[in-house]
Structure formats: structure tokens, C-alpha cells
Amino acid sequence: MNEKKKTSVPAKGKKQNKAKEIWRRFKKNKTAVAGLIVVIFFILVAVFAELIVPYEVALKQTKALREPPSSAHWFGTDRLGRDVFARIVHGTKVSLLIGLIGTAISTVIGLIIGAISGYYGGRLDEIIMRLMDMIMSIPSMLLSLAVVAALGANMQNLLIALVVGQIPHTARANRALVMSVSGQEFVKAAKSYGAGDARIIFKYLVPNVIGPIIVQASMQISSTILSAAALSFLGMGIQPPQPEWGYMLSEAREFMRTSPYLIMFPGVTILLLSLAFNLAGDGLQDAFNPQLKD
């Protein structure tokens, strides 16, 4: 470990130290660590879903309709006699994938648009930002609904819909970040020795704002998960019989009076996962900017 440190280039060592410093500050924040643990737990559930309970169990319809939780069915069974526990476990995969992939795509596209807009400025910036304003004036939930309505409801289109709704926000935030560093000396220096625009943007500007961008993205994951579940609840997202938490809630609606547990388990799971991502994201933000913390 020590040897490695000595041999590494100075710049890299600095970065590692910074990461360590952030981790040290993050560790002190108990709620953030709790959030991270819950997130890791859900990731493990998603990865080992097949080992916990086979996918067939989540789809298999039995004669035991809407049975309350028991030792045979921990979370009970739904209106088609399917095991709710198995459906929640396999729904984890779907929600996490959408949350992570959706956020990653919208962050990357938003970063590219924001960086171009912030770096070039002038008329191009004006045009891009007006376009973003237009998209932003449509409430993002409606925009996503319209996209799914036009393209058809499936996982890929759900992702497109979520990303389209988020890009203006990420582009705007990233533009501000890029602008805050684009006037600094190292950018001028790079320009003076003739570095191309693409090189300046991706080699100098982006690495310098990557920290805040990661923080932003971590906070966005939970809202992506929530929007995806909401669209599925309306029947505009993941399609049955694939298990998805939001859709499970919409199926459970009819049976609220007789089988209230059917709305409790998926609801609590959505709440837990998005709360965990939020807590961890908040902690990450505080760890990145200790001066911001009151």
C-alpha cells in the first residue's frame, strides 16, 4: 500500500488524498452512512435476486389469492396469487437499473450540452438555453408522459422519457459549473498553447467540475426512481407481468379495503430506497463542500 503511494505520480496521489478526505468526512455523517448501507443492501438484493428467490416465483400464479403475510409468503400474495416478496425482490433490479442508468445518461448528455453552452457562450449559449427553457416550461412529469404515450410503454421508452425530462435541469446546472471554471488561468494557459476546444472542454473543464456533478447525480437518482415508479403506477412504464413497485401499487389499489398489506410493502420499499439515496447524496454533498455545511 505504502509502496504504491510512493510510486504513483504526484497528481494522482493528490486526487487519492482528496478522495480519502471526502470519505473521511462522509464517514463522520451517521445518517449518510446509514443511507449508503441501505443503498448497498438494495444493490446486493438486486445482484443476488435470483439466489434469494427465483424469478419464476415472481411470475407464478397460484390459487392462493391475496393471502396475508405468512411463513410461506412473507409479504403475502397478490390478486393473481403471485408471491409479493419475490416481486419486490425482482422489482429492485428494475428500479435500481432505471435509477442508475437514467441518471447516468441524463448526466452525460446534460454535461455535454452544458459544457458546450457554458464554454462557447454567446449566441450558441443563448439558443441552447432558450431551448432548455422551452422544455423546462412543460412540467417534467407531463413531458415524460407525452413521450411514453407517443413511443409506447416499455423499459427503453421509459428511460428515454425520464432522460428527456431531466436533461434541461442537468444541462443548466452543468453549464453554471463549467462557466465558473472556464475563466480560470489554467483554461487560458491551455488556450495559449493552442489546445483545441474539445481538448479544453474534456481535458480541463470537465475534470474540474466532476465532483459537484457526481454530487448532483447522486441526488438525482432518487427522483429518477420515483418518477419511473410514478409512470409505471399510471401504466405508462414497465409493463406487466414484469414486477415493478409502482405498478404493484396500482394493482393493489382495488384491494385496499381487504388487503391493505398489498400497498404497504411496495410503498415502504420505494420510500426506503429513495430515502437512502437522498441521505447518501446529502452526505456526499456535505463531504464535498464542508464549508457549505451550516
Binding site: R130, S137, L142, V148, A149, S222, L226, L279
Partner: protein, 311 residues
């Protein structure tokens, strides 16, 4: 000042044209043609073709877009609903009051409670009250609105039997849906108020107010909060936008015949004119609200007013 207001209103026109273009583009991706959607699966192909021809569906994209805009501007005609063959605008005018009532009531509720709780948390920083309010705010922010709604139905309608679970025929019917939307919006309001207040109560003028012996209530609400209002006003404005999304979910859960549930049913039946008009309607409304927010700044902050007058 008037000049500025007029300029801002005129600037809305290109934005809304852009919105029409975006929505028109998205809706244009829908497979199928209006003739088939209106006449149904069993209709004869020649009837479908004739109808498509009459609706101008066979014309190029930009011609259709131009005609769409022309009809809106000259005749205020947003098209006929595929499902009912009646003007979509009429439908929206019938349904909008439900959504508007809910939105206003829940903005009001969530602002009052959100700001009060946020201020309390900031004033009592690092106490148990502060941390419980912070946790509550976090939970409110991530509670899915439709789930909150179902939980409330479970408690207040099914278990206690106090309030109706669906419909909009009396004032009582609005309580649960309004609470549902308000709770979802309240979380971010609480968090924002807390953070701006934390900054405000450390300012010199607050210390001065305390030093001259002003009562604590006046110091907090009269001096600190008044100066922290600006970001809060923006957030109330954008809350309206989020609420339109919340309305879709809340109206679906509580079966309220507002625009939110109208959009969902129009999307299900591929009633494209209805979806387009509702989206445009919300976008226009949201842009107008944000414009009002900007103008409100001038009344709250004399510095901003000076800027408007000079520009």
C-alpha cells in the same frame, strides 16, 4: 416597469411556439393515423383514408404544424378530441376548475406549514426539534404522492370513515387529495426555508434587531424571514409546476375529474389533440406563473425593481 412587463409577455410568445413545436414533434412520433384512431379498428380503409385527407394528415409535417398554429391563433381552435369529437378546449374548461382549486389549496397549505416548520428548524438548529423536522422533510420529499394518497384513504376513509375516498362532489372530497399534494410539496419547502433562514439569522441586521430589544418573534419573522423571502417565492412558483405533475397522480388515486386524470385517460385512448392541448395548457400556465414570480421580485426587492426600471 410597464415596459418591462410587456417585454416579458412578448418574450413568452417564442417560448410557447417552441413548446408547441416540441409537443407537436413528440406526438407526431405516435404510430397510427388519426382516421384509424377516430373510426376504430373495424372501419373501412377508404373511410379512414378520406378522413385522414380531410384532417390534412397526409400533408408534410411542417405544413401540418403551420396549420395547427394558424388554427390556434386565428380561431382559438385546438382541434377536436378523437374520442368525443368535441372541441378539446371545452373539455379543459370544464375540468380545469377541479385541478386549480386543488393546486391553490395545496400551495397555500404547503407554503404555510413548510415555511413555519422550516423557520422553526432553523431557529432551533442542532436540537431534537430541528432533526425531527429535517427527517420529516426528507421523508415527505421522497414519499410517492400516489402512495401517500392511498395511505390516507386507508386511514381516514377505510379505518376511521371520516372522509370520502373518491370523487369531487363536496368540499369534504377535496381534503385528502389536497393534503396528499401538499405533503409531497411541503418537504422541499421545509428544507429550502431552513437553509435560507440559517443564513439569514446570522446576518448583522438580525443581531442589530436583537440588540435593540425587538421581541424574538419579530426578529425571526419580521427581520430574518422577510429578507430570506426571495428564494422562497421562486420555489413557490416552481412548486406549481410540480403540482401539475402531482395532480395527475392525486386525481388518479382519488378519481377527481380534473385535467390530470383527463390527460391520463387521453393518453390511454391515444387522444392526441387532447394530450397536446393539455400539455400546452399546463406549459402556458406554468410560464405565466413564473413570469408573475419574476415580477413579484420587484415588489419584494427594491434593488431588482431599480434594475427593471433602468433597463
Amino acid at each position: 416597469m410597464y415596459k418591462y412587463v410587456i417585454k416579458r409577455i412578448l418574450l413568452l410568445i417564442p417560448v410557447l411556439l417552441g413548446v408547441v413545436f416540441i409537443v407537436f414533434f413528440i406526438m407526431n412520433l405516435t404510430p397510427g393515423d388519426p382516421g384509424r384512431l377516430i373510426l376504430g379498428e373495424s372501419a373501412k380503409q377508404e373511410d379512414v383514408d378520406r378522413l385522414n385527407d380531410r384532417l390534412g394528415f397526409n400533408k408534410p409535417y411542417f405544413v401540418r404544424f403551420f396549420n395547427y398554429i394558424k388554427d390556434i391563433v386565428t380561431k382559438f381552435d385546438f382541434g377536436l378530441s378523437y374520442a368525443t369529437q368535441k372541441p378539446v378546449v371545452d373539455q379543459i374548461l370544464i375540468k380545469f376548475p377541479y385541478t386549480l382549486k386543488m393546486a391553490i389549496a395545496s400551495v397555500f397549505l404547503s407554503t404555510i406549514f413548510g415555511v413555519t416548520l422550516g423557520v422553526t428548524a432553523a431557529v432551533k438548529q442542532y436540537t431534537a426539534i430541528d432533526s425531527s423536522i429535517t427527517v420529516l422533510a426528507m421523508v415527505f420529499t421522497v414519499m410517492p404522492a400516489y402512495w401517500t394518497g392511498m395511505l390516507m384513504i386507508l386511514l381516514f376513509s377505510i379505518k376511521l370513515g371520516w372522509l370520502p375516498a373518491s370523487g369531487a362532489s363536496s368540499l369534504k372530497h377535496y381534503i385528502l387529495p389536497v393534503l396528499t399534494i401538499a405533503i409531497t410539496a411541503m418537504g422541499s419547502m421545509m428544507r429550502l426555508t431552513r437553509s435560507v433562514m440559517l443564513e439569514a439569522i446570522r446576518q448583522d441586521y438580525v443581531r442589530t434587531a436583537r440588540a435593540k430589544g425587538a421581541p424574538e418573534r419579530r426578529v425571526v419573522y419580521g427581520h430574518a424571514l422577510k429578507n430570506a423571502l426571495l428564494p422562497l417565492i421562486t420555489s413557490v412558483g416552481s412548486m406549481f409546476g410540480g403540482m401539475m405533475g402531482g395532480a395527475v397522480l392525486s386525481e388518479t388515486v382519488f378519481n377527481i375529474p380534473g385535467i390530470g386524470s383527463y390527460i391520463v385517460s387521453s393518453i390511454r385512448s391515444k387522444d392526441i389533440p387532447a394530450v397536446m392541448t393539455c400539455t400546452l395548457f399546463f406549459a402556458t400556465l406554468f410560464s405565466l406563473i413564473m413570469l408573475c414570480v419574476d415580477l413579484l421580485y420587484a415588489f419584494v426587492d427594491p434593488r431588482i425593481k431599480a434594475k427593471y426600471v433602468n433597463s
